[in-house]
Every structure is written in structure tokens, then in C-alpha cells.
């Protein structure tokens, strides 16, 4: 069985400060990993994904995540957050060949002016 753990349900951070949102997964086989972002009253949007290759993946708005196989982690980072980054962030995993994603419980990021 696979599961996804997001260790922090809420993360407050001041504007222009760095942030890390943690995600750990449990799986005995290789997985595909995703981060989604949900802005208030909207659906989820794909932020970035790891399928294979380079363990560091980046999004267009300055977020990055690093796949760490030994620690079964896929933490999301940004060196300097903006007010507009306030949202809920979901980590998700998928087994190769599986038809659906398993989501974590989400981390609400609040950027404080």
C-alpha cells in the first residue's frame, strides 16, 4: 500500500522569507510524485512533477522540489515567498501503471505581509 504524509497542516511565513513544505511517501516500488496548488475557491493546479531523471524539479513561479529516494521524501521549497503564494499545497504519488493519484492531506501556506 502506498500513502502520502504531509507533516505540517499549516505553515505561516513572512513575505520574502524561505519556506519548505514537507512530503513523505511510503512505497516499496518507484513512484511518480506531484505537487498541486489550490488557491481559494478554485480547483487544484499542477505545480511540478517528478517522473524520472534529475531529482530536482522546478516550477515556473520559483518553487522547486527534490526527490530523495533514501528518505522517501519530495519536499517543496521556495527561497522567497510572495503574498500571492498563499494557498493550500497537496503532495501526491502515483505508482507506475496505476490509474489514479493518492493525495496527502494538504499544507495551508499563509504568507504574512
Amino acid at each position: 500500500a502506498q500513502s502520502v504524509t504531509q507533516l505540517d497542516s499549516q505553515v505561516p511565513v513572512f513575505e520574502e522569507a524561505p519556506v519548505e513544505l514537507r512530503c513523505n511517501y511510503s512505497s516499496s516500488v518507484s513512484v511518480y510524485l506531484f505537487w498541486y496548488v489550490q488557491y481559494p475557491n478554485q480547483g487544484l493546479q499542477l505545480l511540478l512533477k517528478y517522473l524520472s531523471g534529475s531529482t530536482l524539479v522546478e516550477s515556473i513561479n520559483g518553487f522547486e522540489a527534490e526527490f530523495n529516494k533514501s528518505q522517501t521524501s519530495f519536499h517543496l521549497r521556495k527561497p522567497s515567498v510572495h503574498i500571492s503564494d498563499t494557498a493550500e499545497y497537496f503532495c501526491a504519488v502515483r505508482l507506475p501503471g496505476a490509474n489514479n493519484l493518492f493525495f496527502g492531506t494538504g499544507t495551508r501556506l499563509t504568507v504574512i505581509p
Partner: protein, 114 residues
């Protein structure tokens, strides 16, 4: 969200009544999914479809049924709504089972069962 529409956006219904939520896509994607989102639980899969008339259960399928008679429409039905089904429901689509492309989500339907 472009290419995927959920209706209605909001609904209040009484316990014991049937409710149908609709997901419509214009992307011609093969896979469609229904998730529910609840505080502390994230998103949980209810049912999904891998083609017309081809559906399968997810982890929280009890009390729900689905139908897909056309590629573009995926309906979620609560046969007899209960208060525990108060939630936000999201539809998602995927071109190839999502292995490379992830999902595209609709804007959600907020359902309240009173």
C-alpha cells in the same frame, strides 16, 4: 478551468434525496475522476472512468454511483444523500491515466446535505 466544467457549483439538499453532479470536458481525455475534499483528509478518490461505460471504484465509493455514457460527461450520483456526504467534490481529467500528465481539475461543487 479550461476544458472541464462542473455543475452545479453549489447545492444544498435534504437528507435522503438523490443528487447528481455533472462533470463535462471538452478535451476528449480518456480518464475522468471524482474526488471529495474534506478537512484533514485531503482528496479521496470516489470513482473513476477509463472510457465510455468503463468505471471503477475508488477508496470511498460507498453511497455513490457513476455513469459515463459519453466521453465528455461523467456523472456522480448520491442515491440517498447523507450528512456525511457534505463535502467539496472535484472532477479531474487525464489524457493517459495521468502517468506523465497529472490531472486537470474542475473548479469543484460544494454540496451541503441538511
Amino acid at each position: 478551468d479550461a476544458g472541464i466544467t462542473q455543475s452545479p457549483r453549489h447545492k444544498v439538499t435534504e437528507t435522503g434525496t438523490p443528487v447528481t453532479l455533472r462533470c463535462h470536458q471538452t478535451e476528449n481525455h480518456r480518464y475522468m475522476y471524482w474526488y471529495r475534499q474534506d478537512p484533514g483528509h485531503g482528496l479521496r478518490l470516489i470513482h473513476y472512468s477509463y472510457g465510455v461505460k468503463d468505471t471503477d471504484k475508488g477508496e470511498v465509493s460507498d453511497g455513490y454511483s457513476v455513469s459515463r455514457s459519453k466521453t465528455e460527461d461523467f456523472l456522480l450520483t448520491l442515491e440517498s444523500a447523507t450528512s456525511s456526504q457534505t463535502s467539496v467534490y472535484f472532477c479531474a481529467i487525464s489524457e493517459s491515466g495521468g502517468q506523465s500528465y497529472g490531472y486537470t481539475f474542475g473548479s469543484g461543487t460544494r454540496l451541503t446535505v441538511v
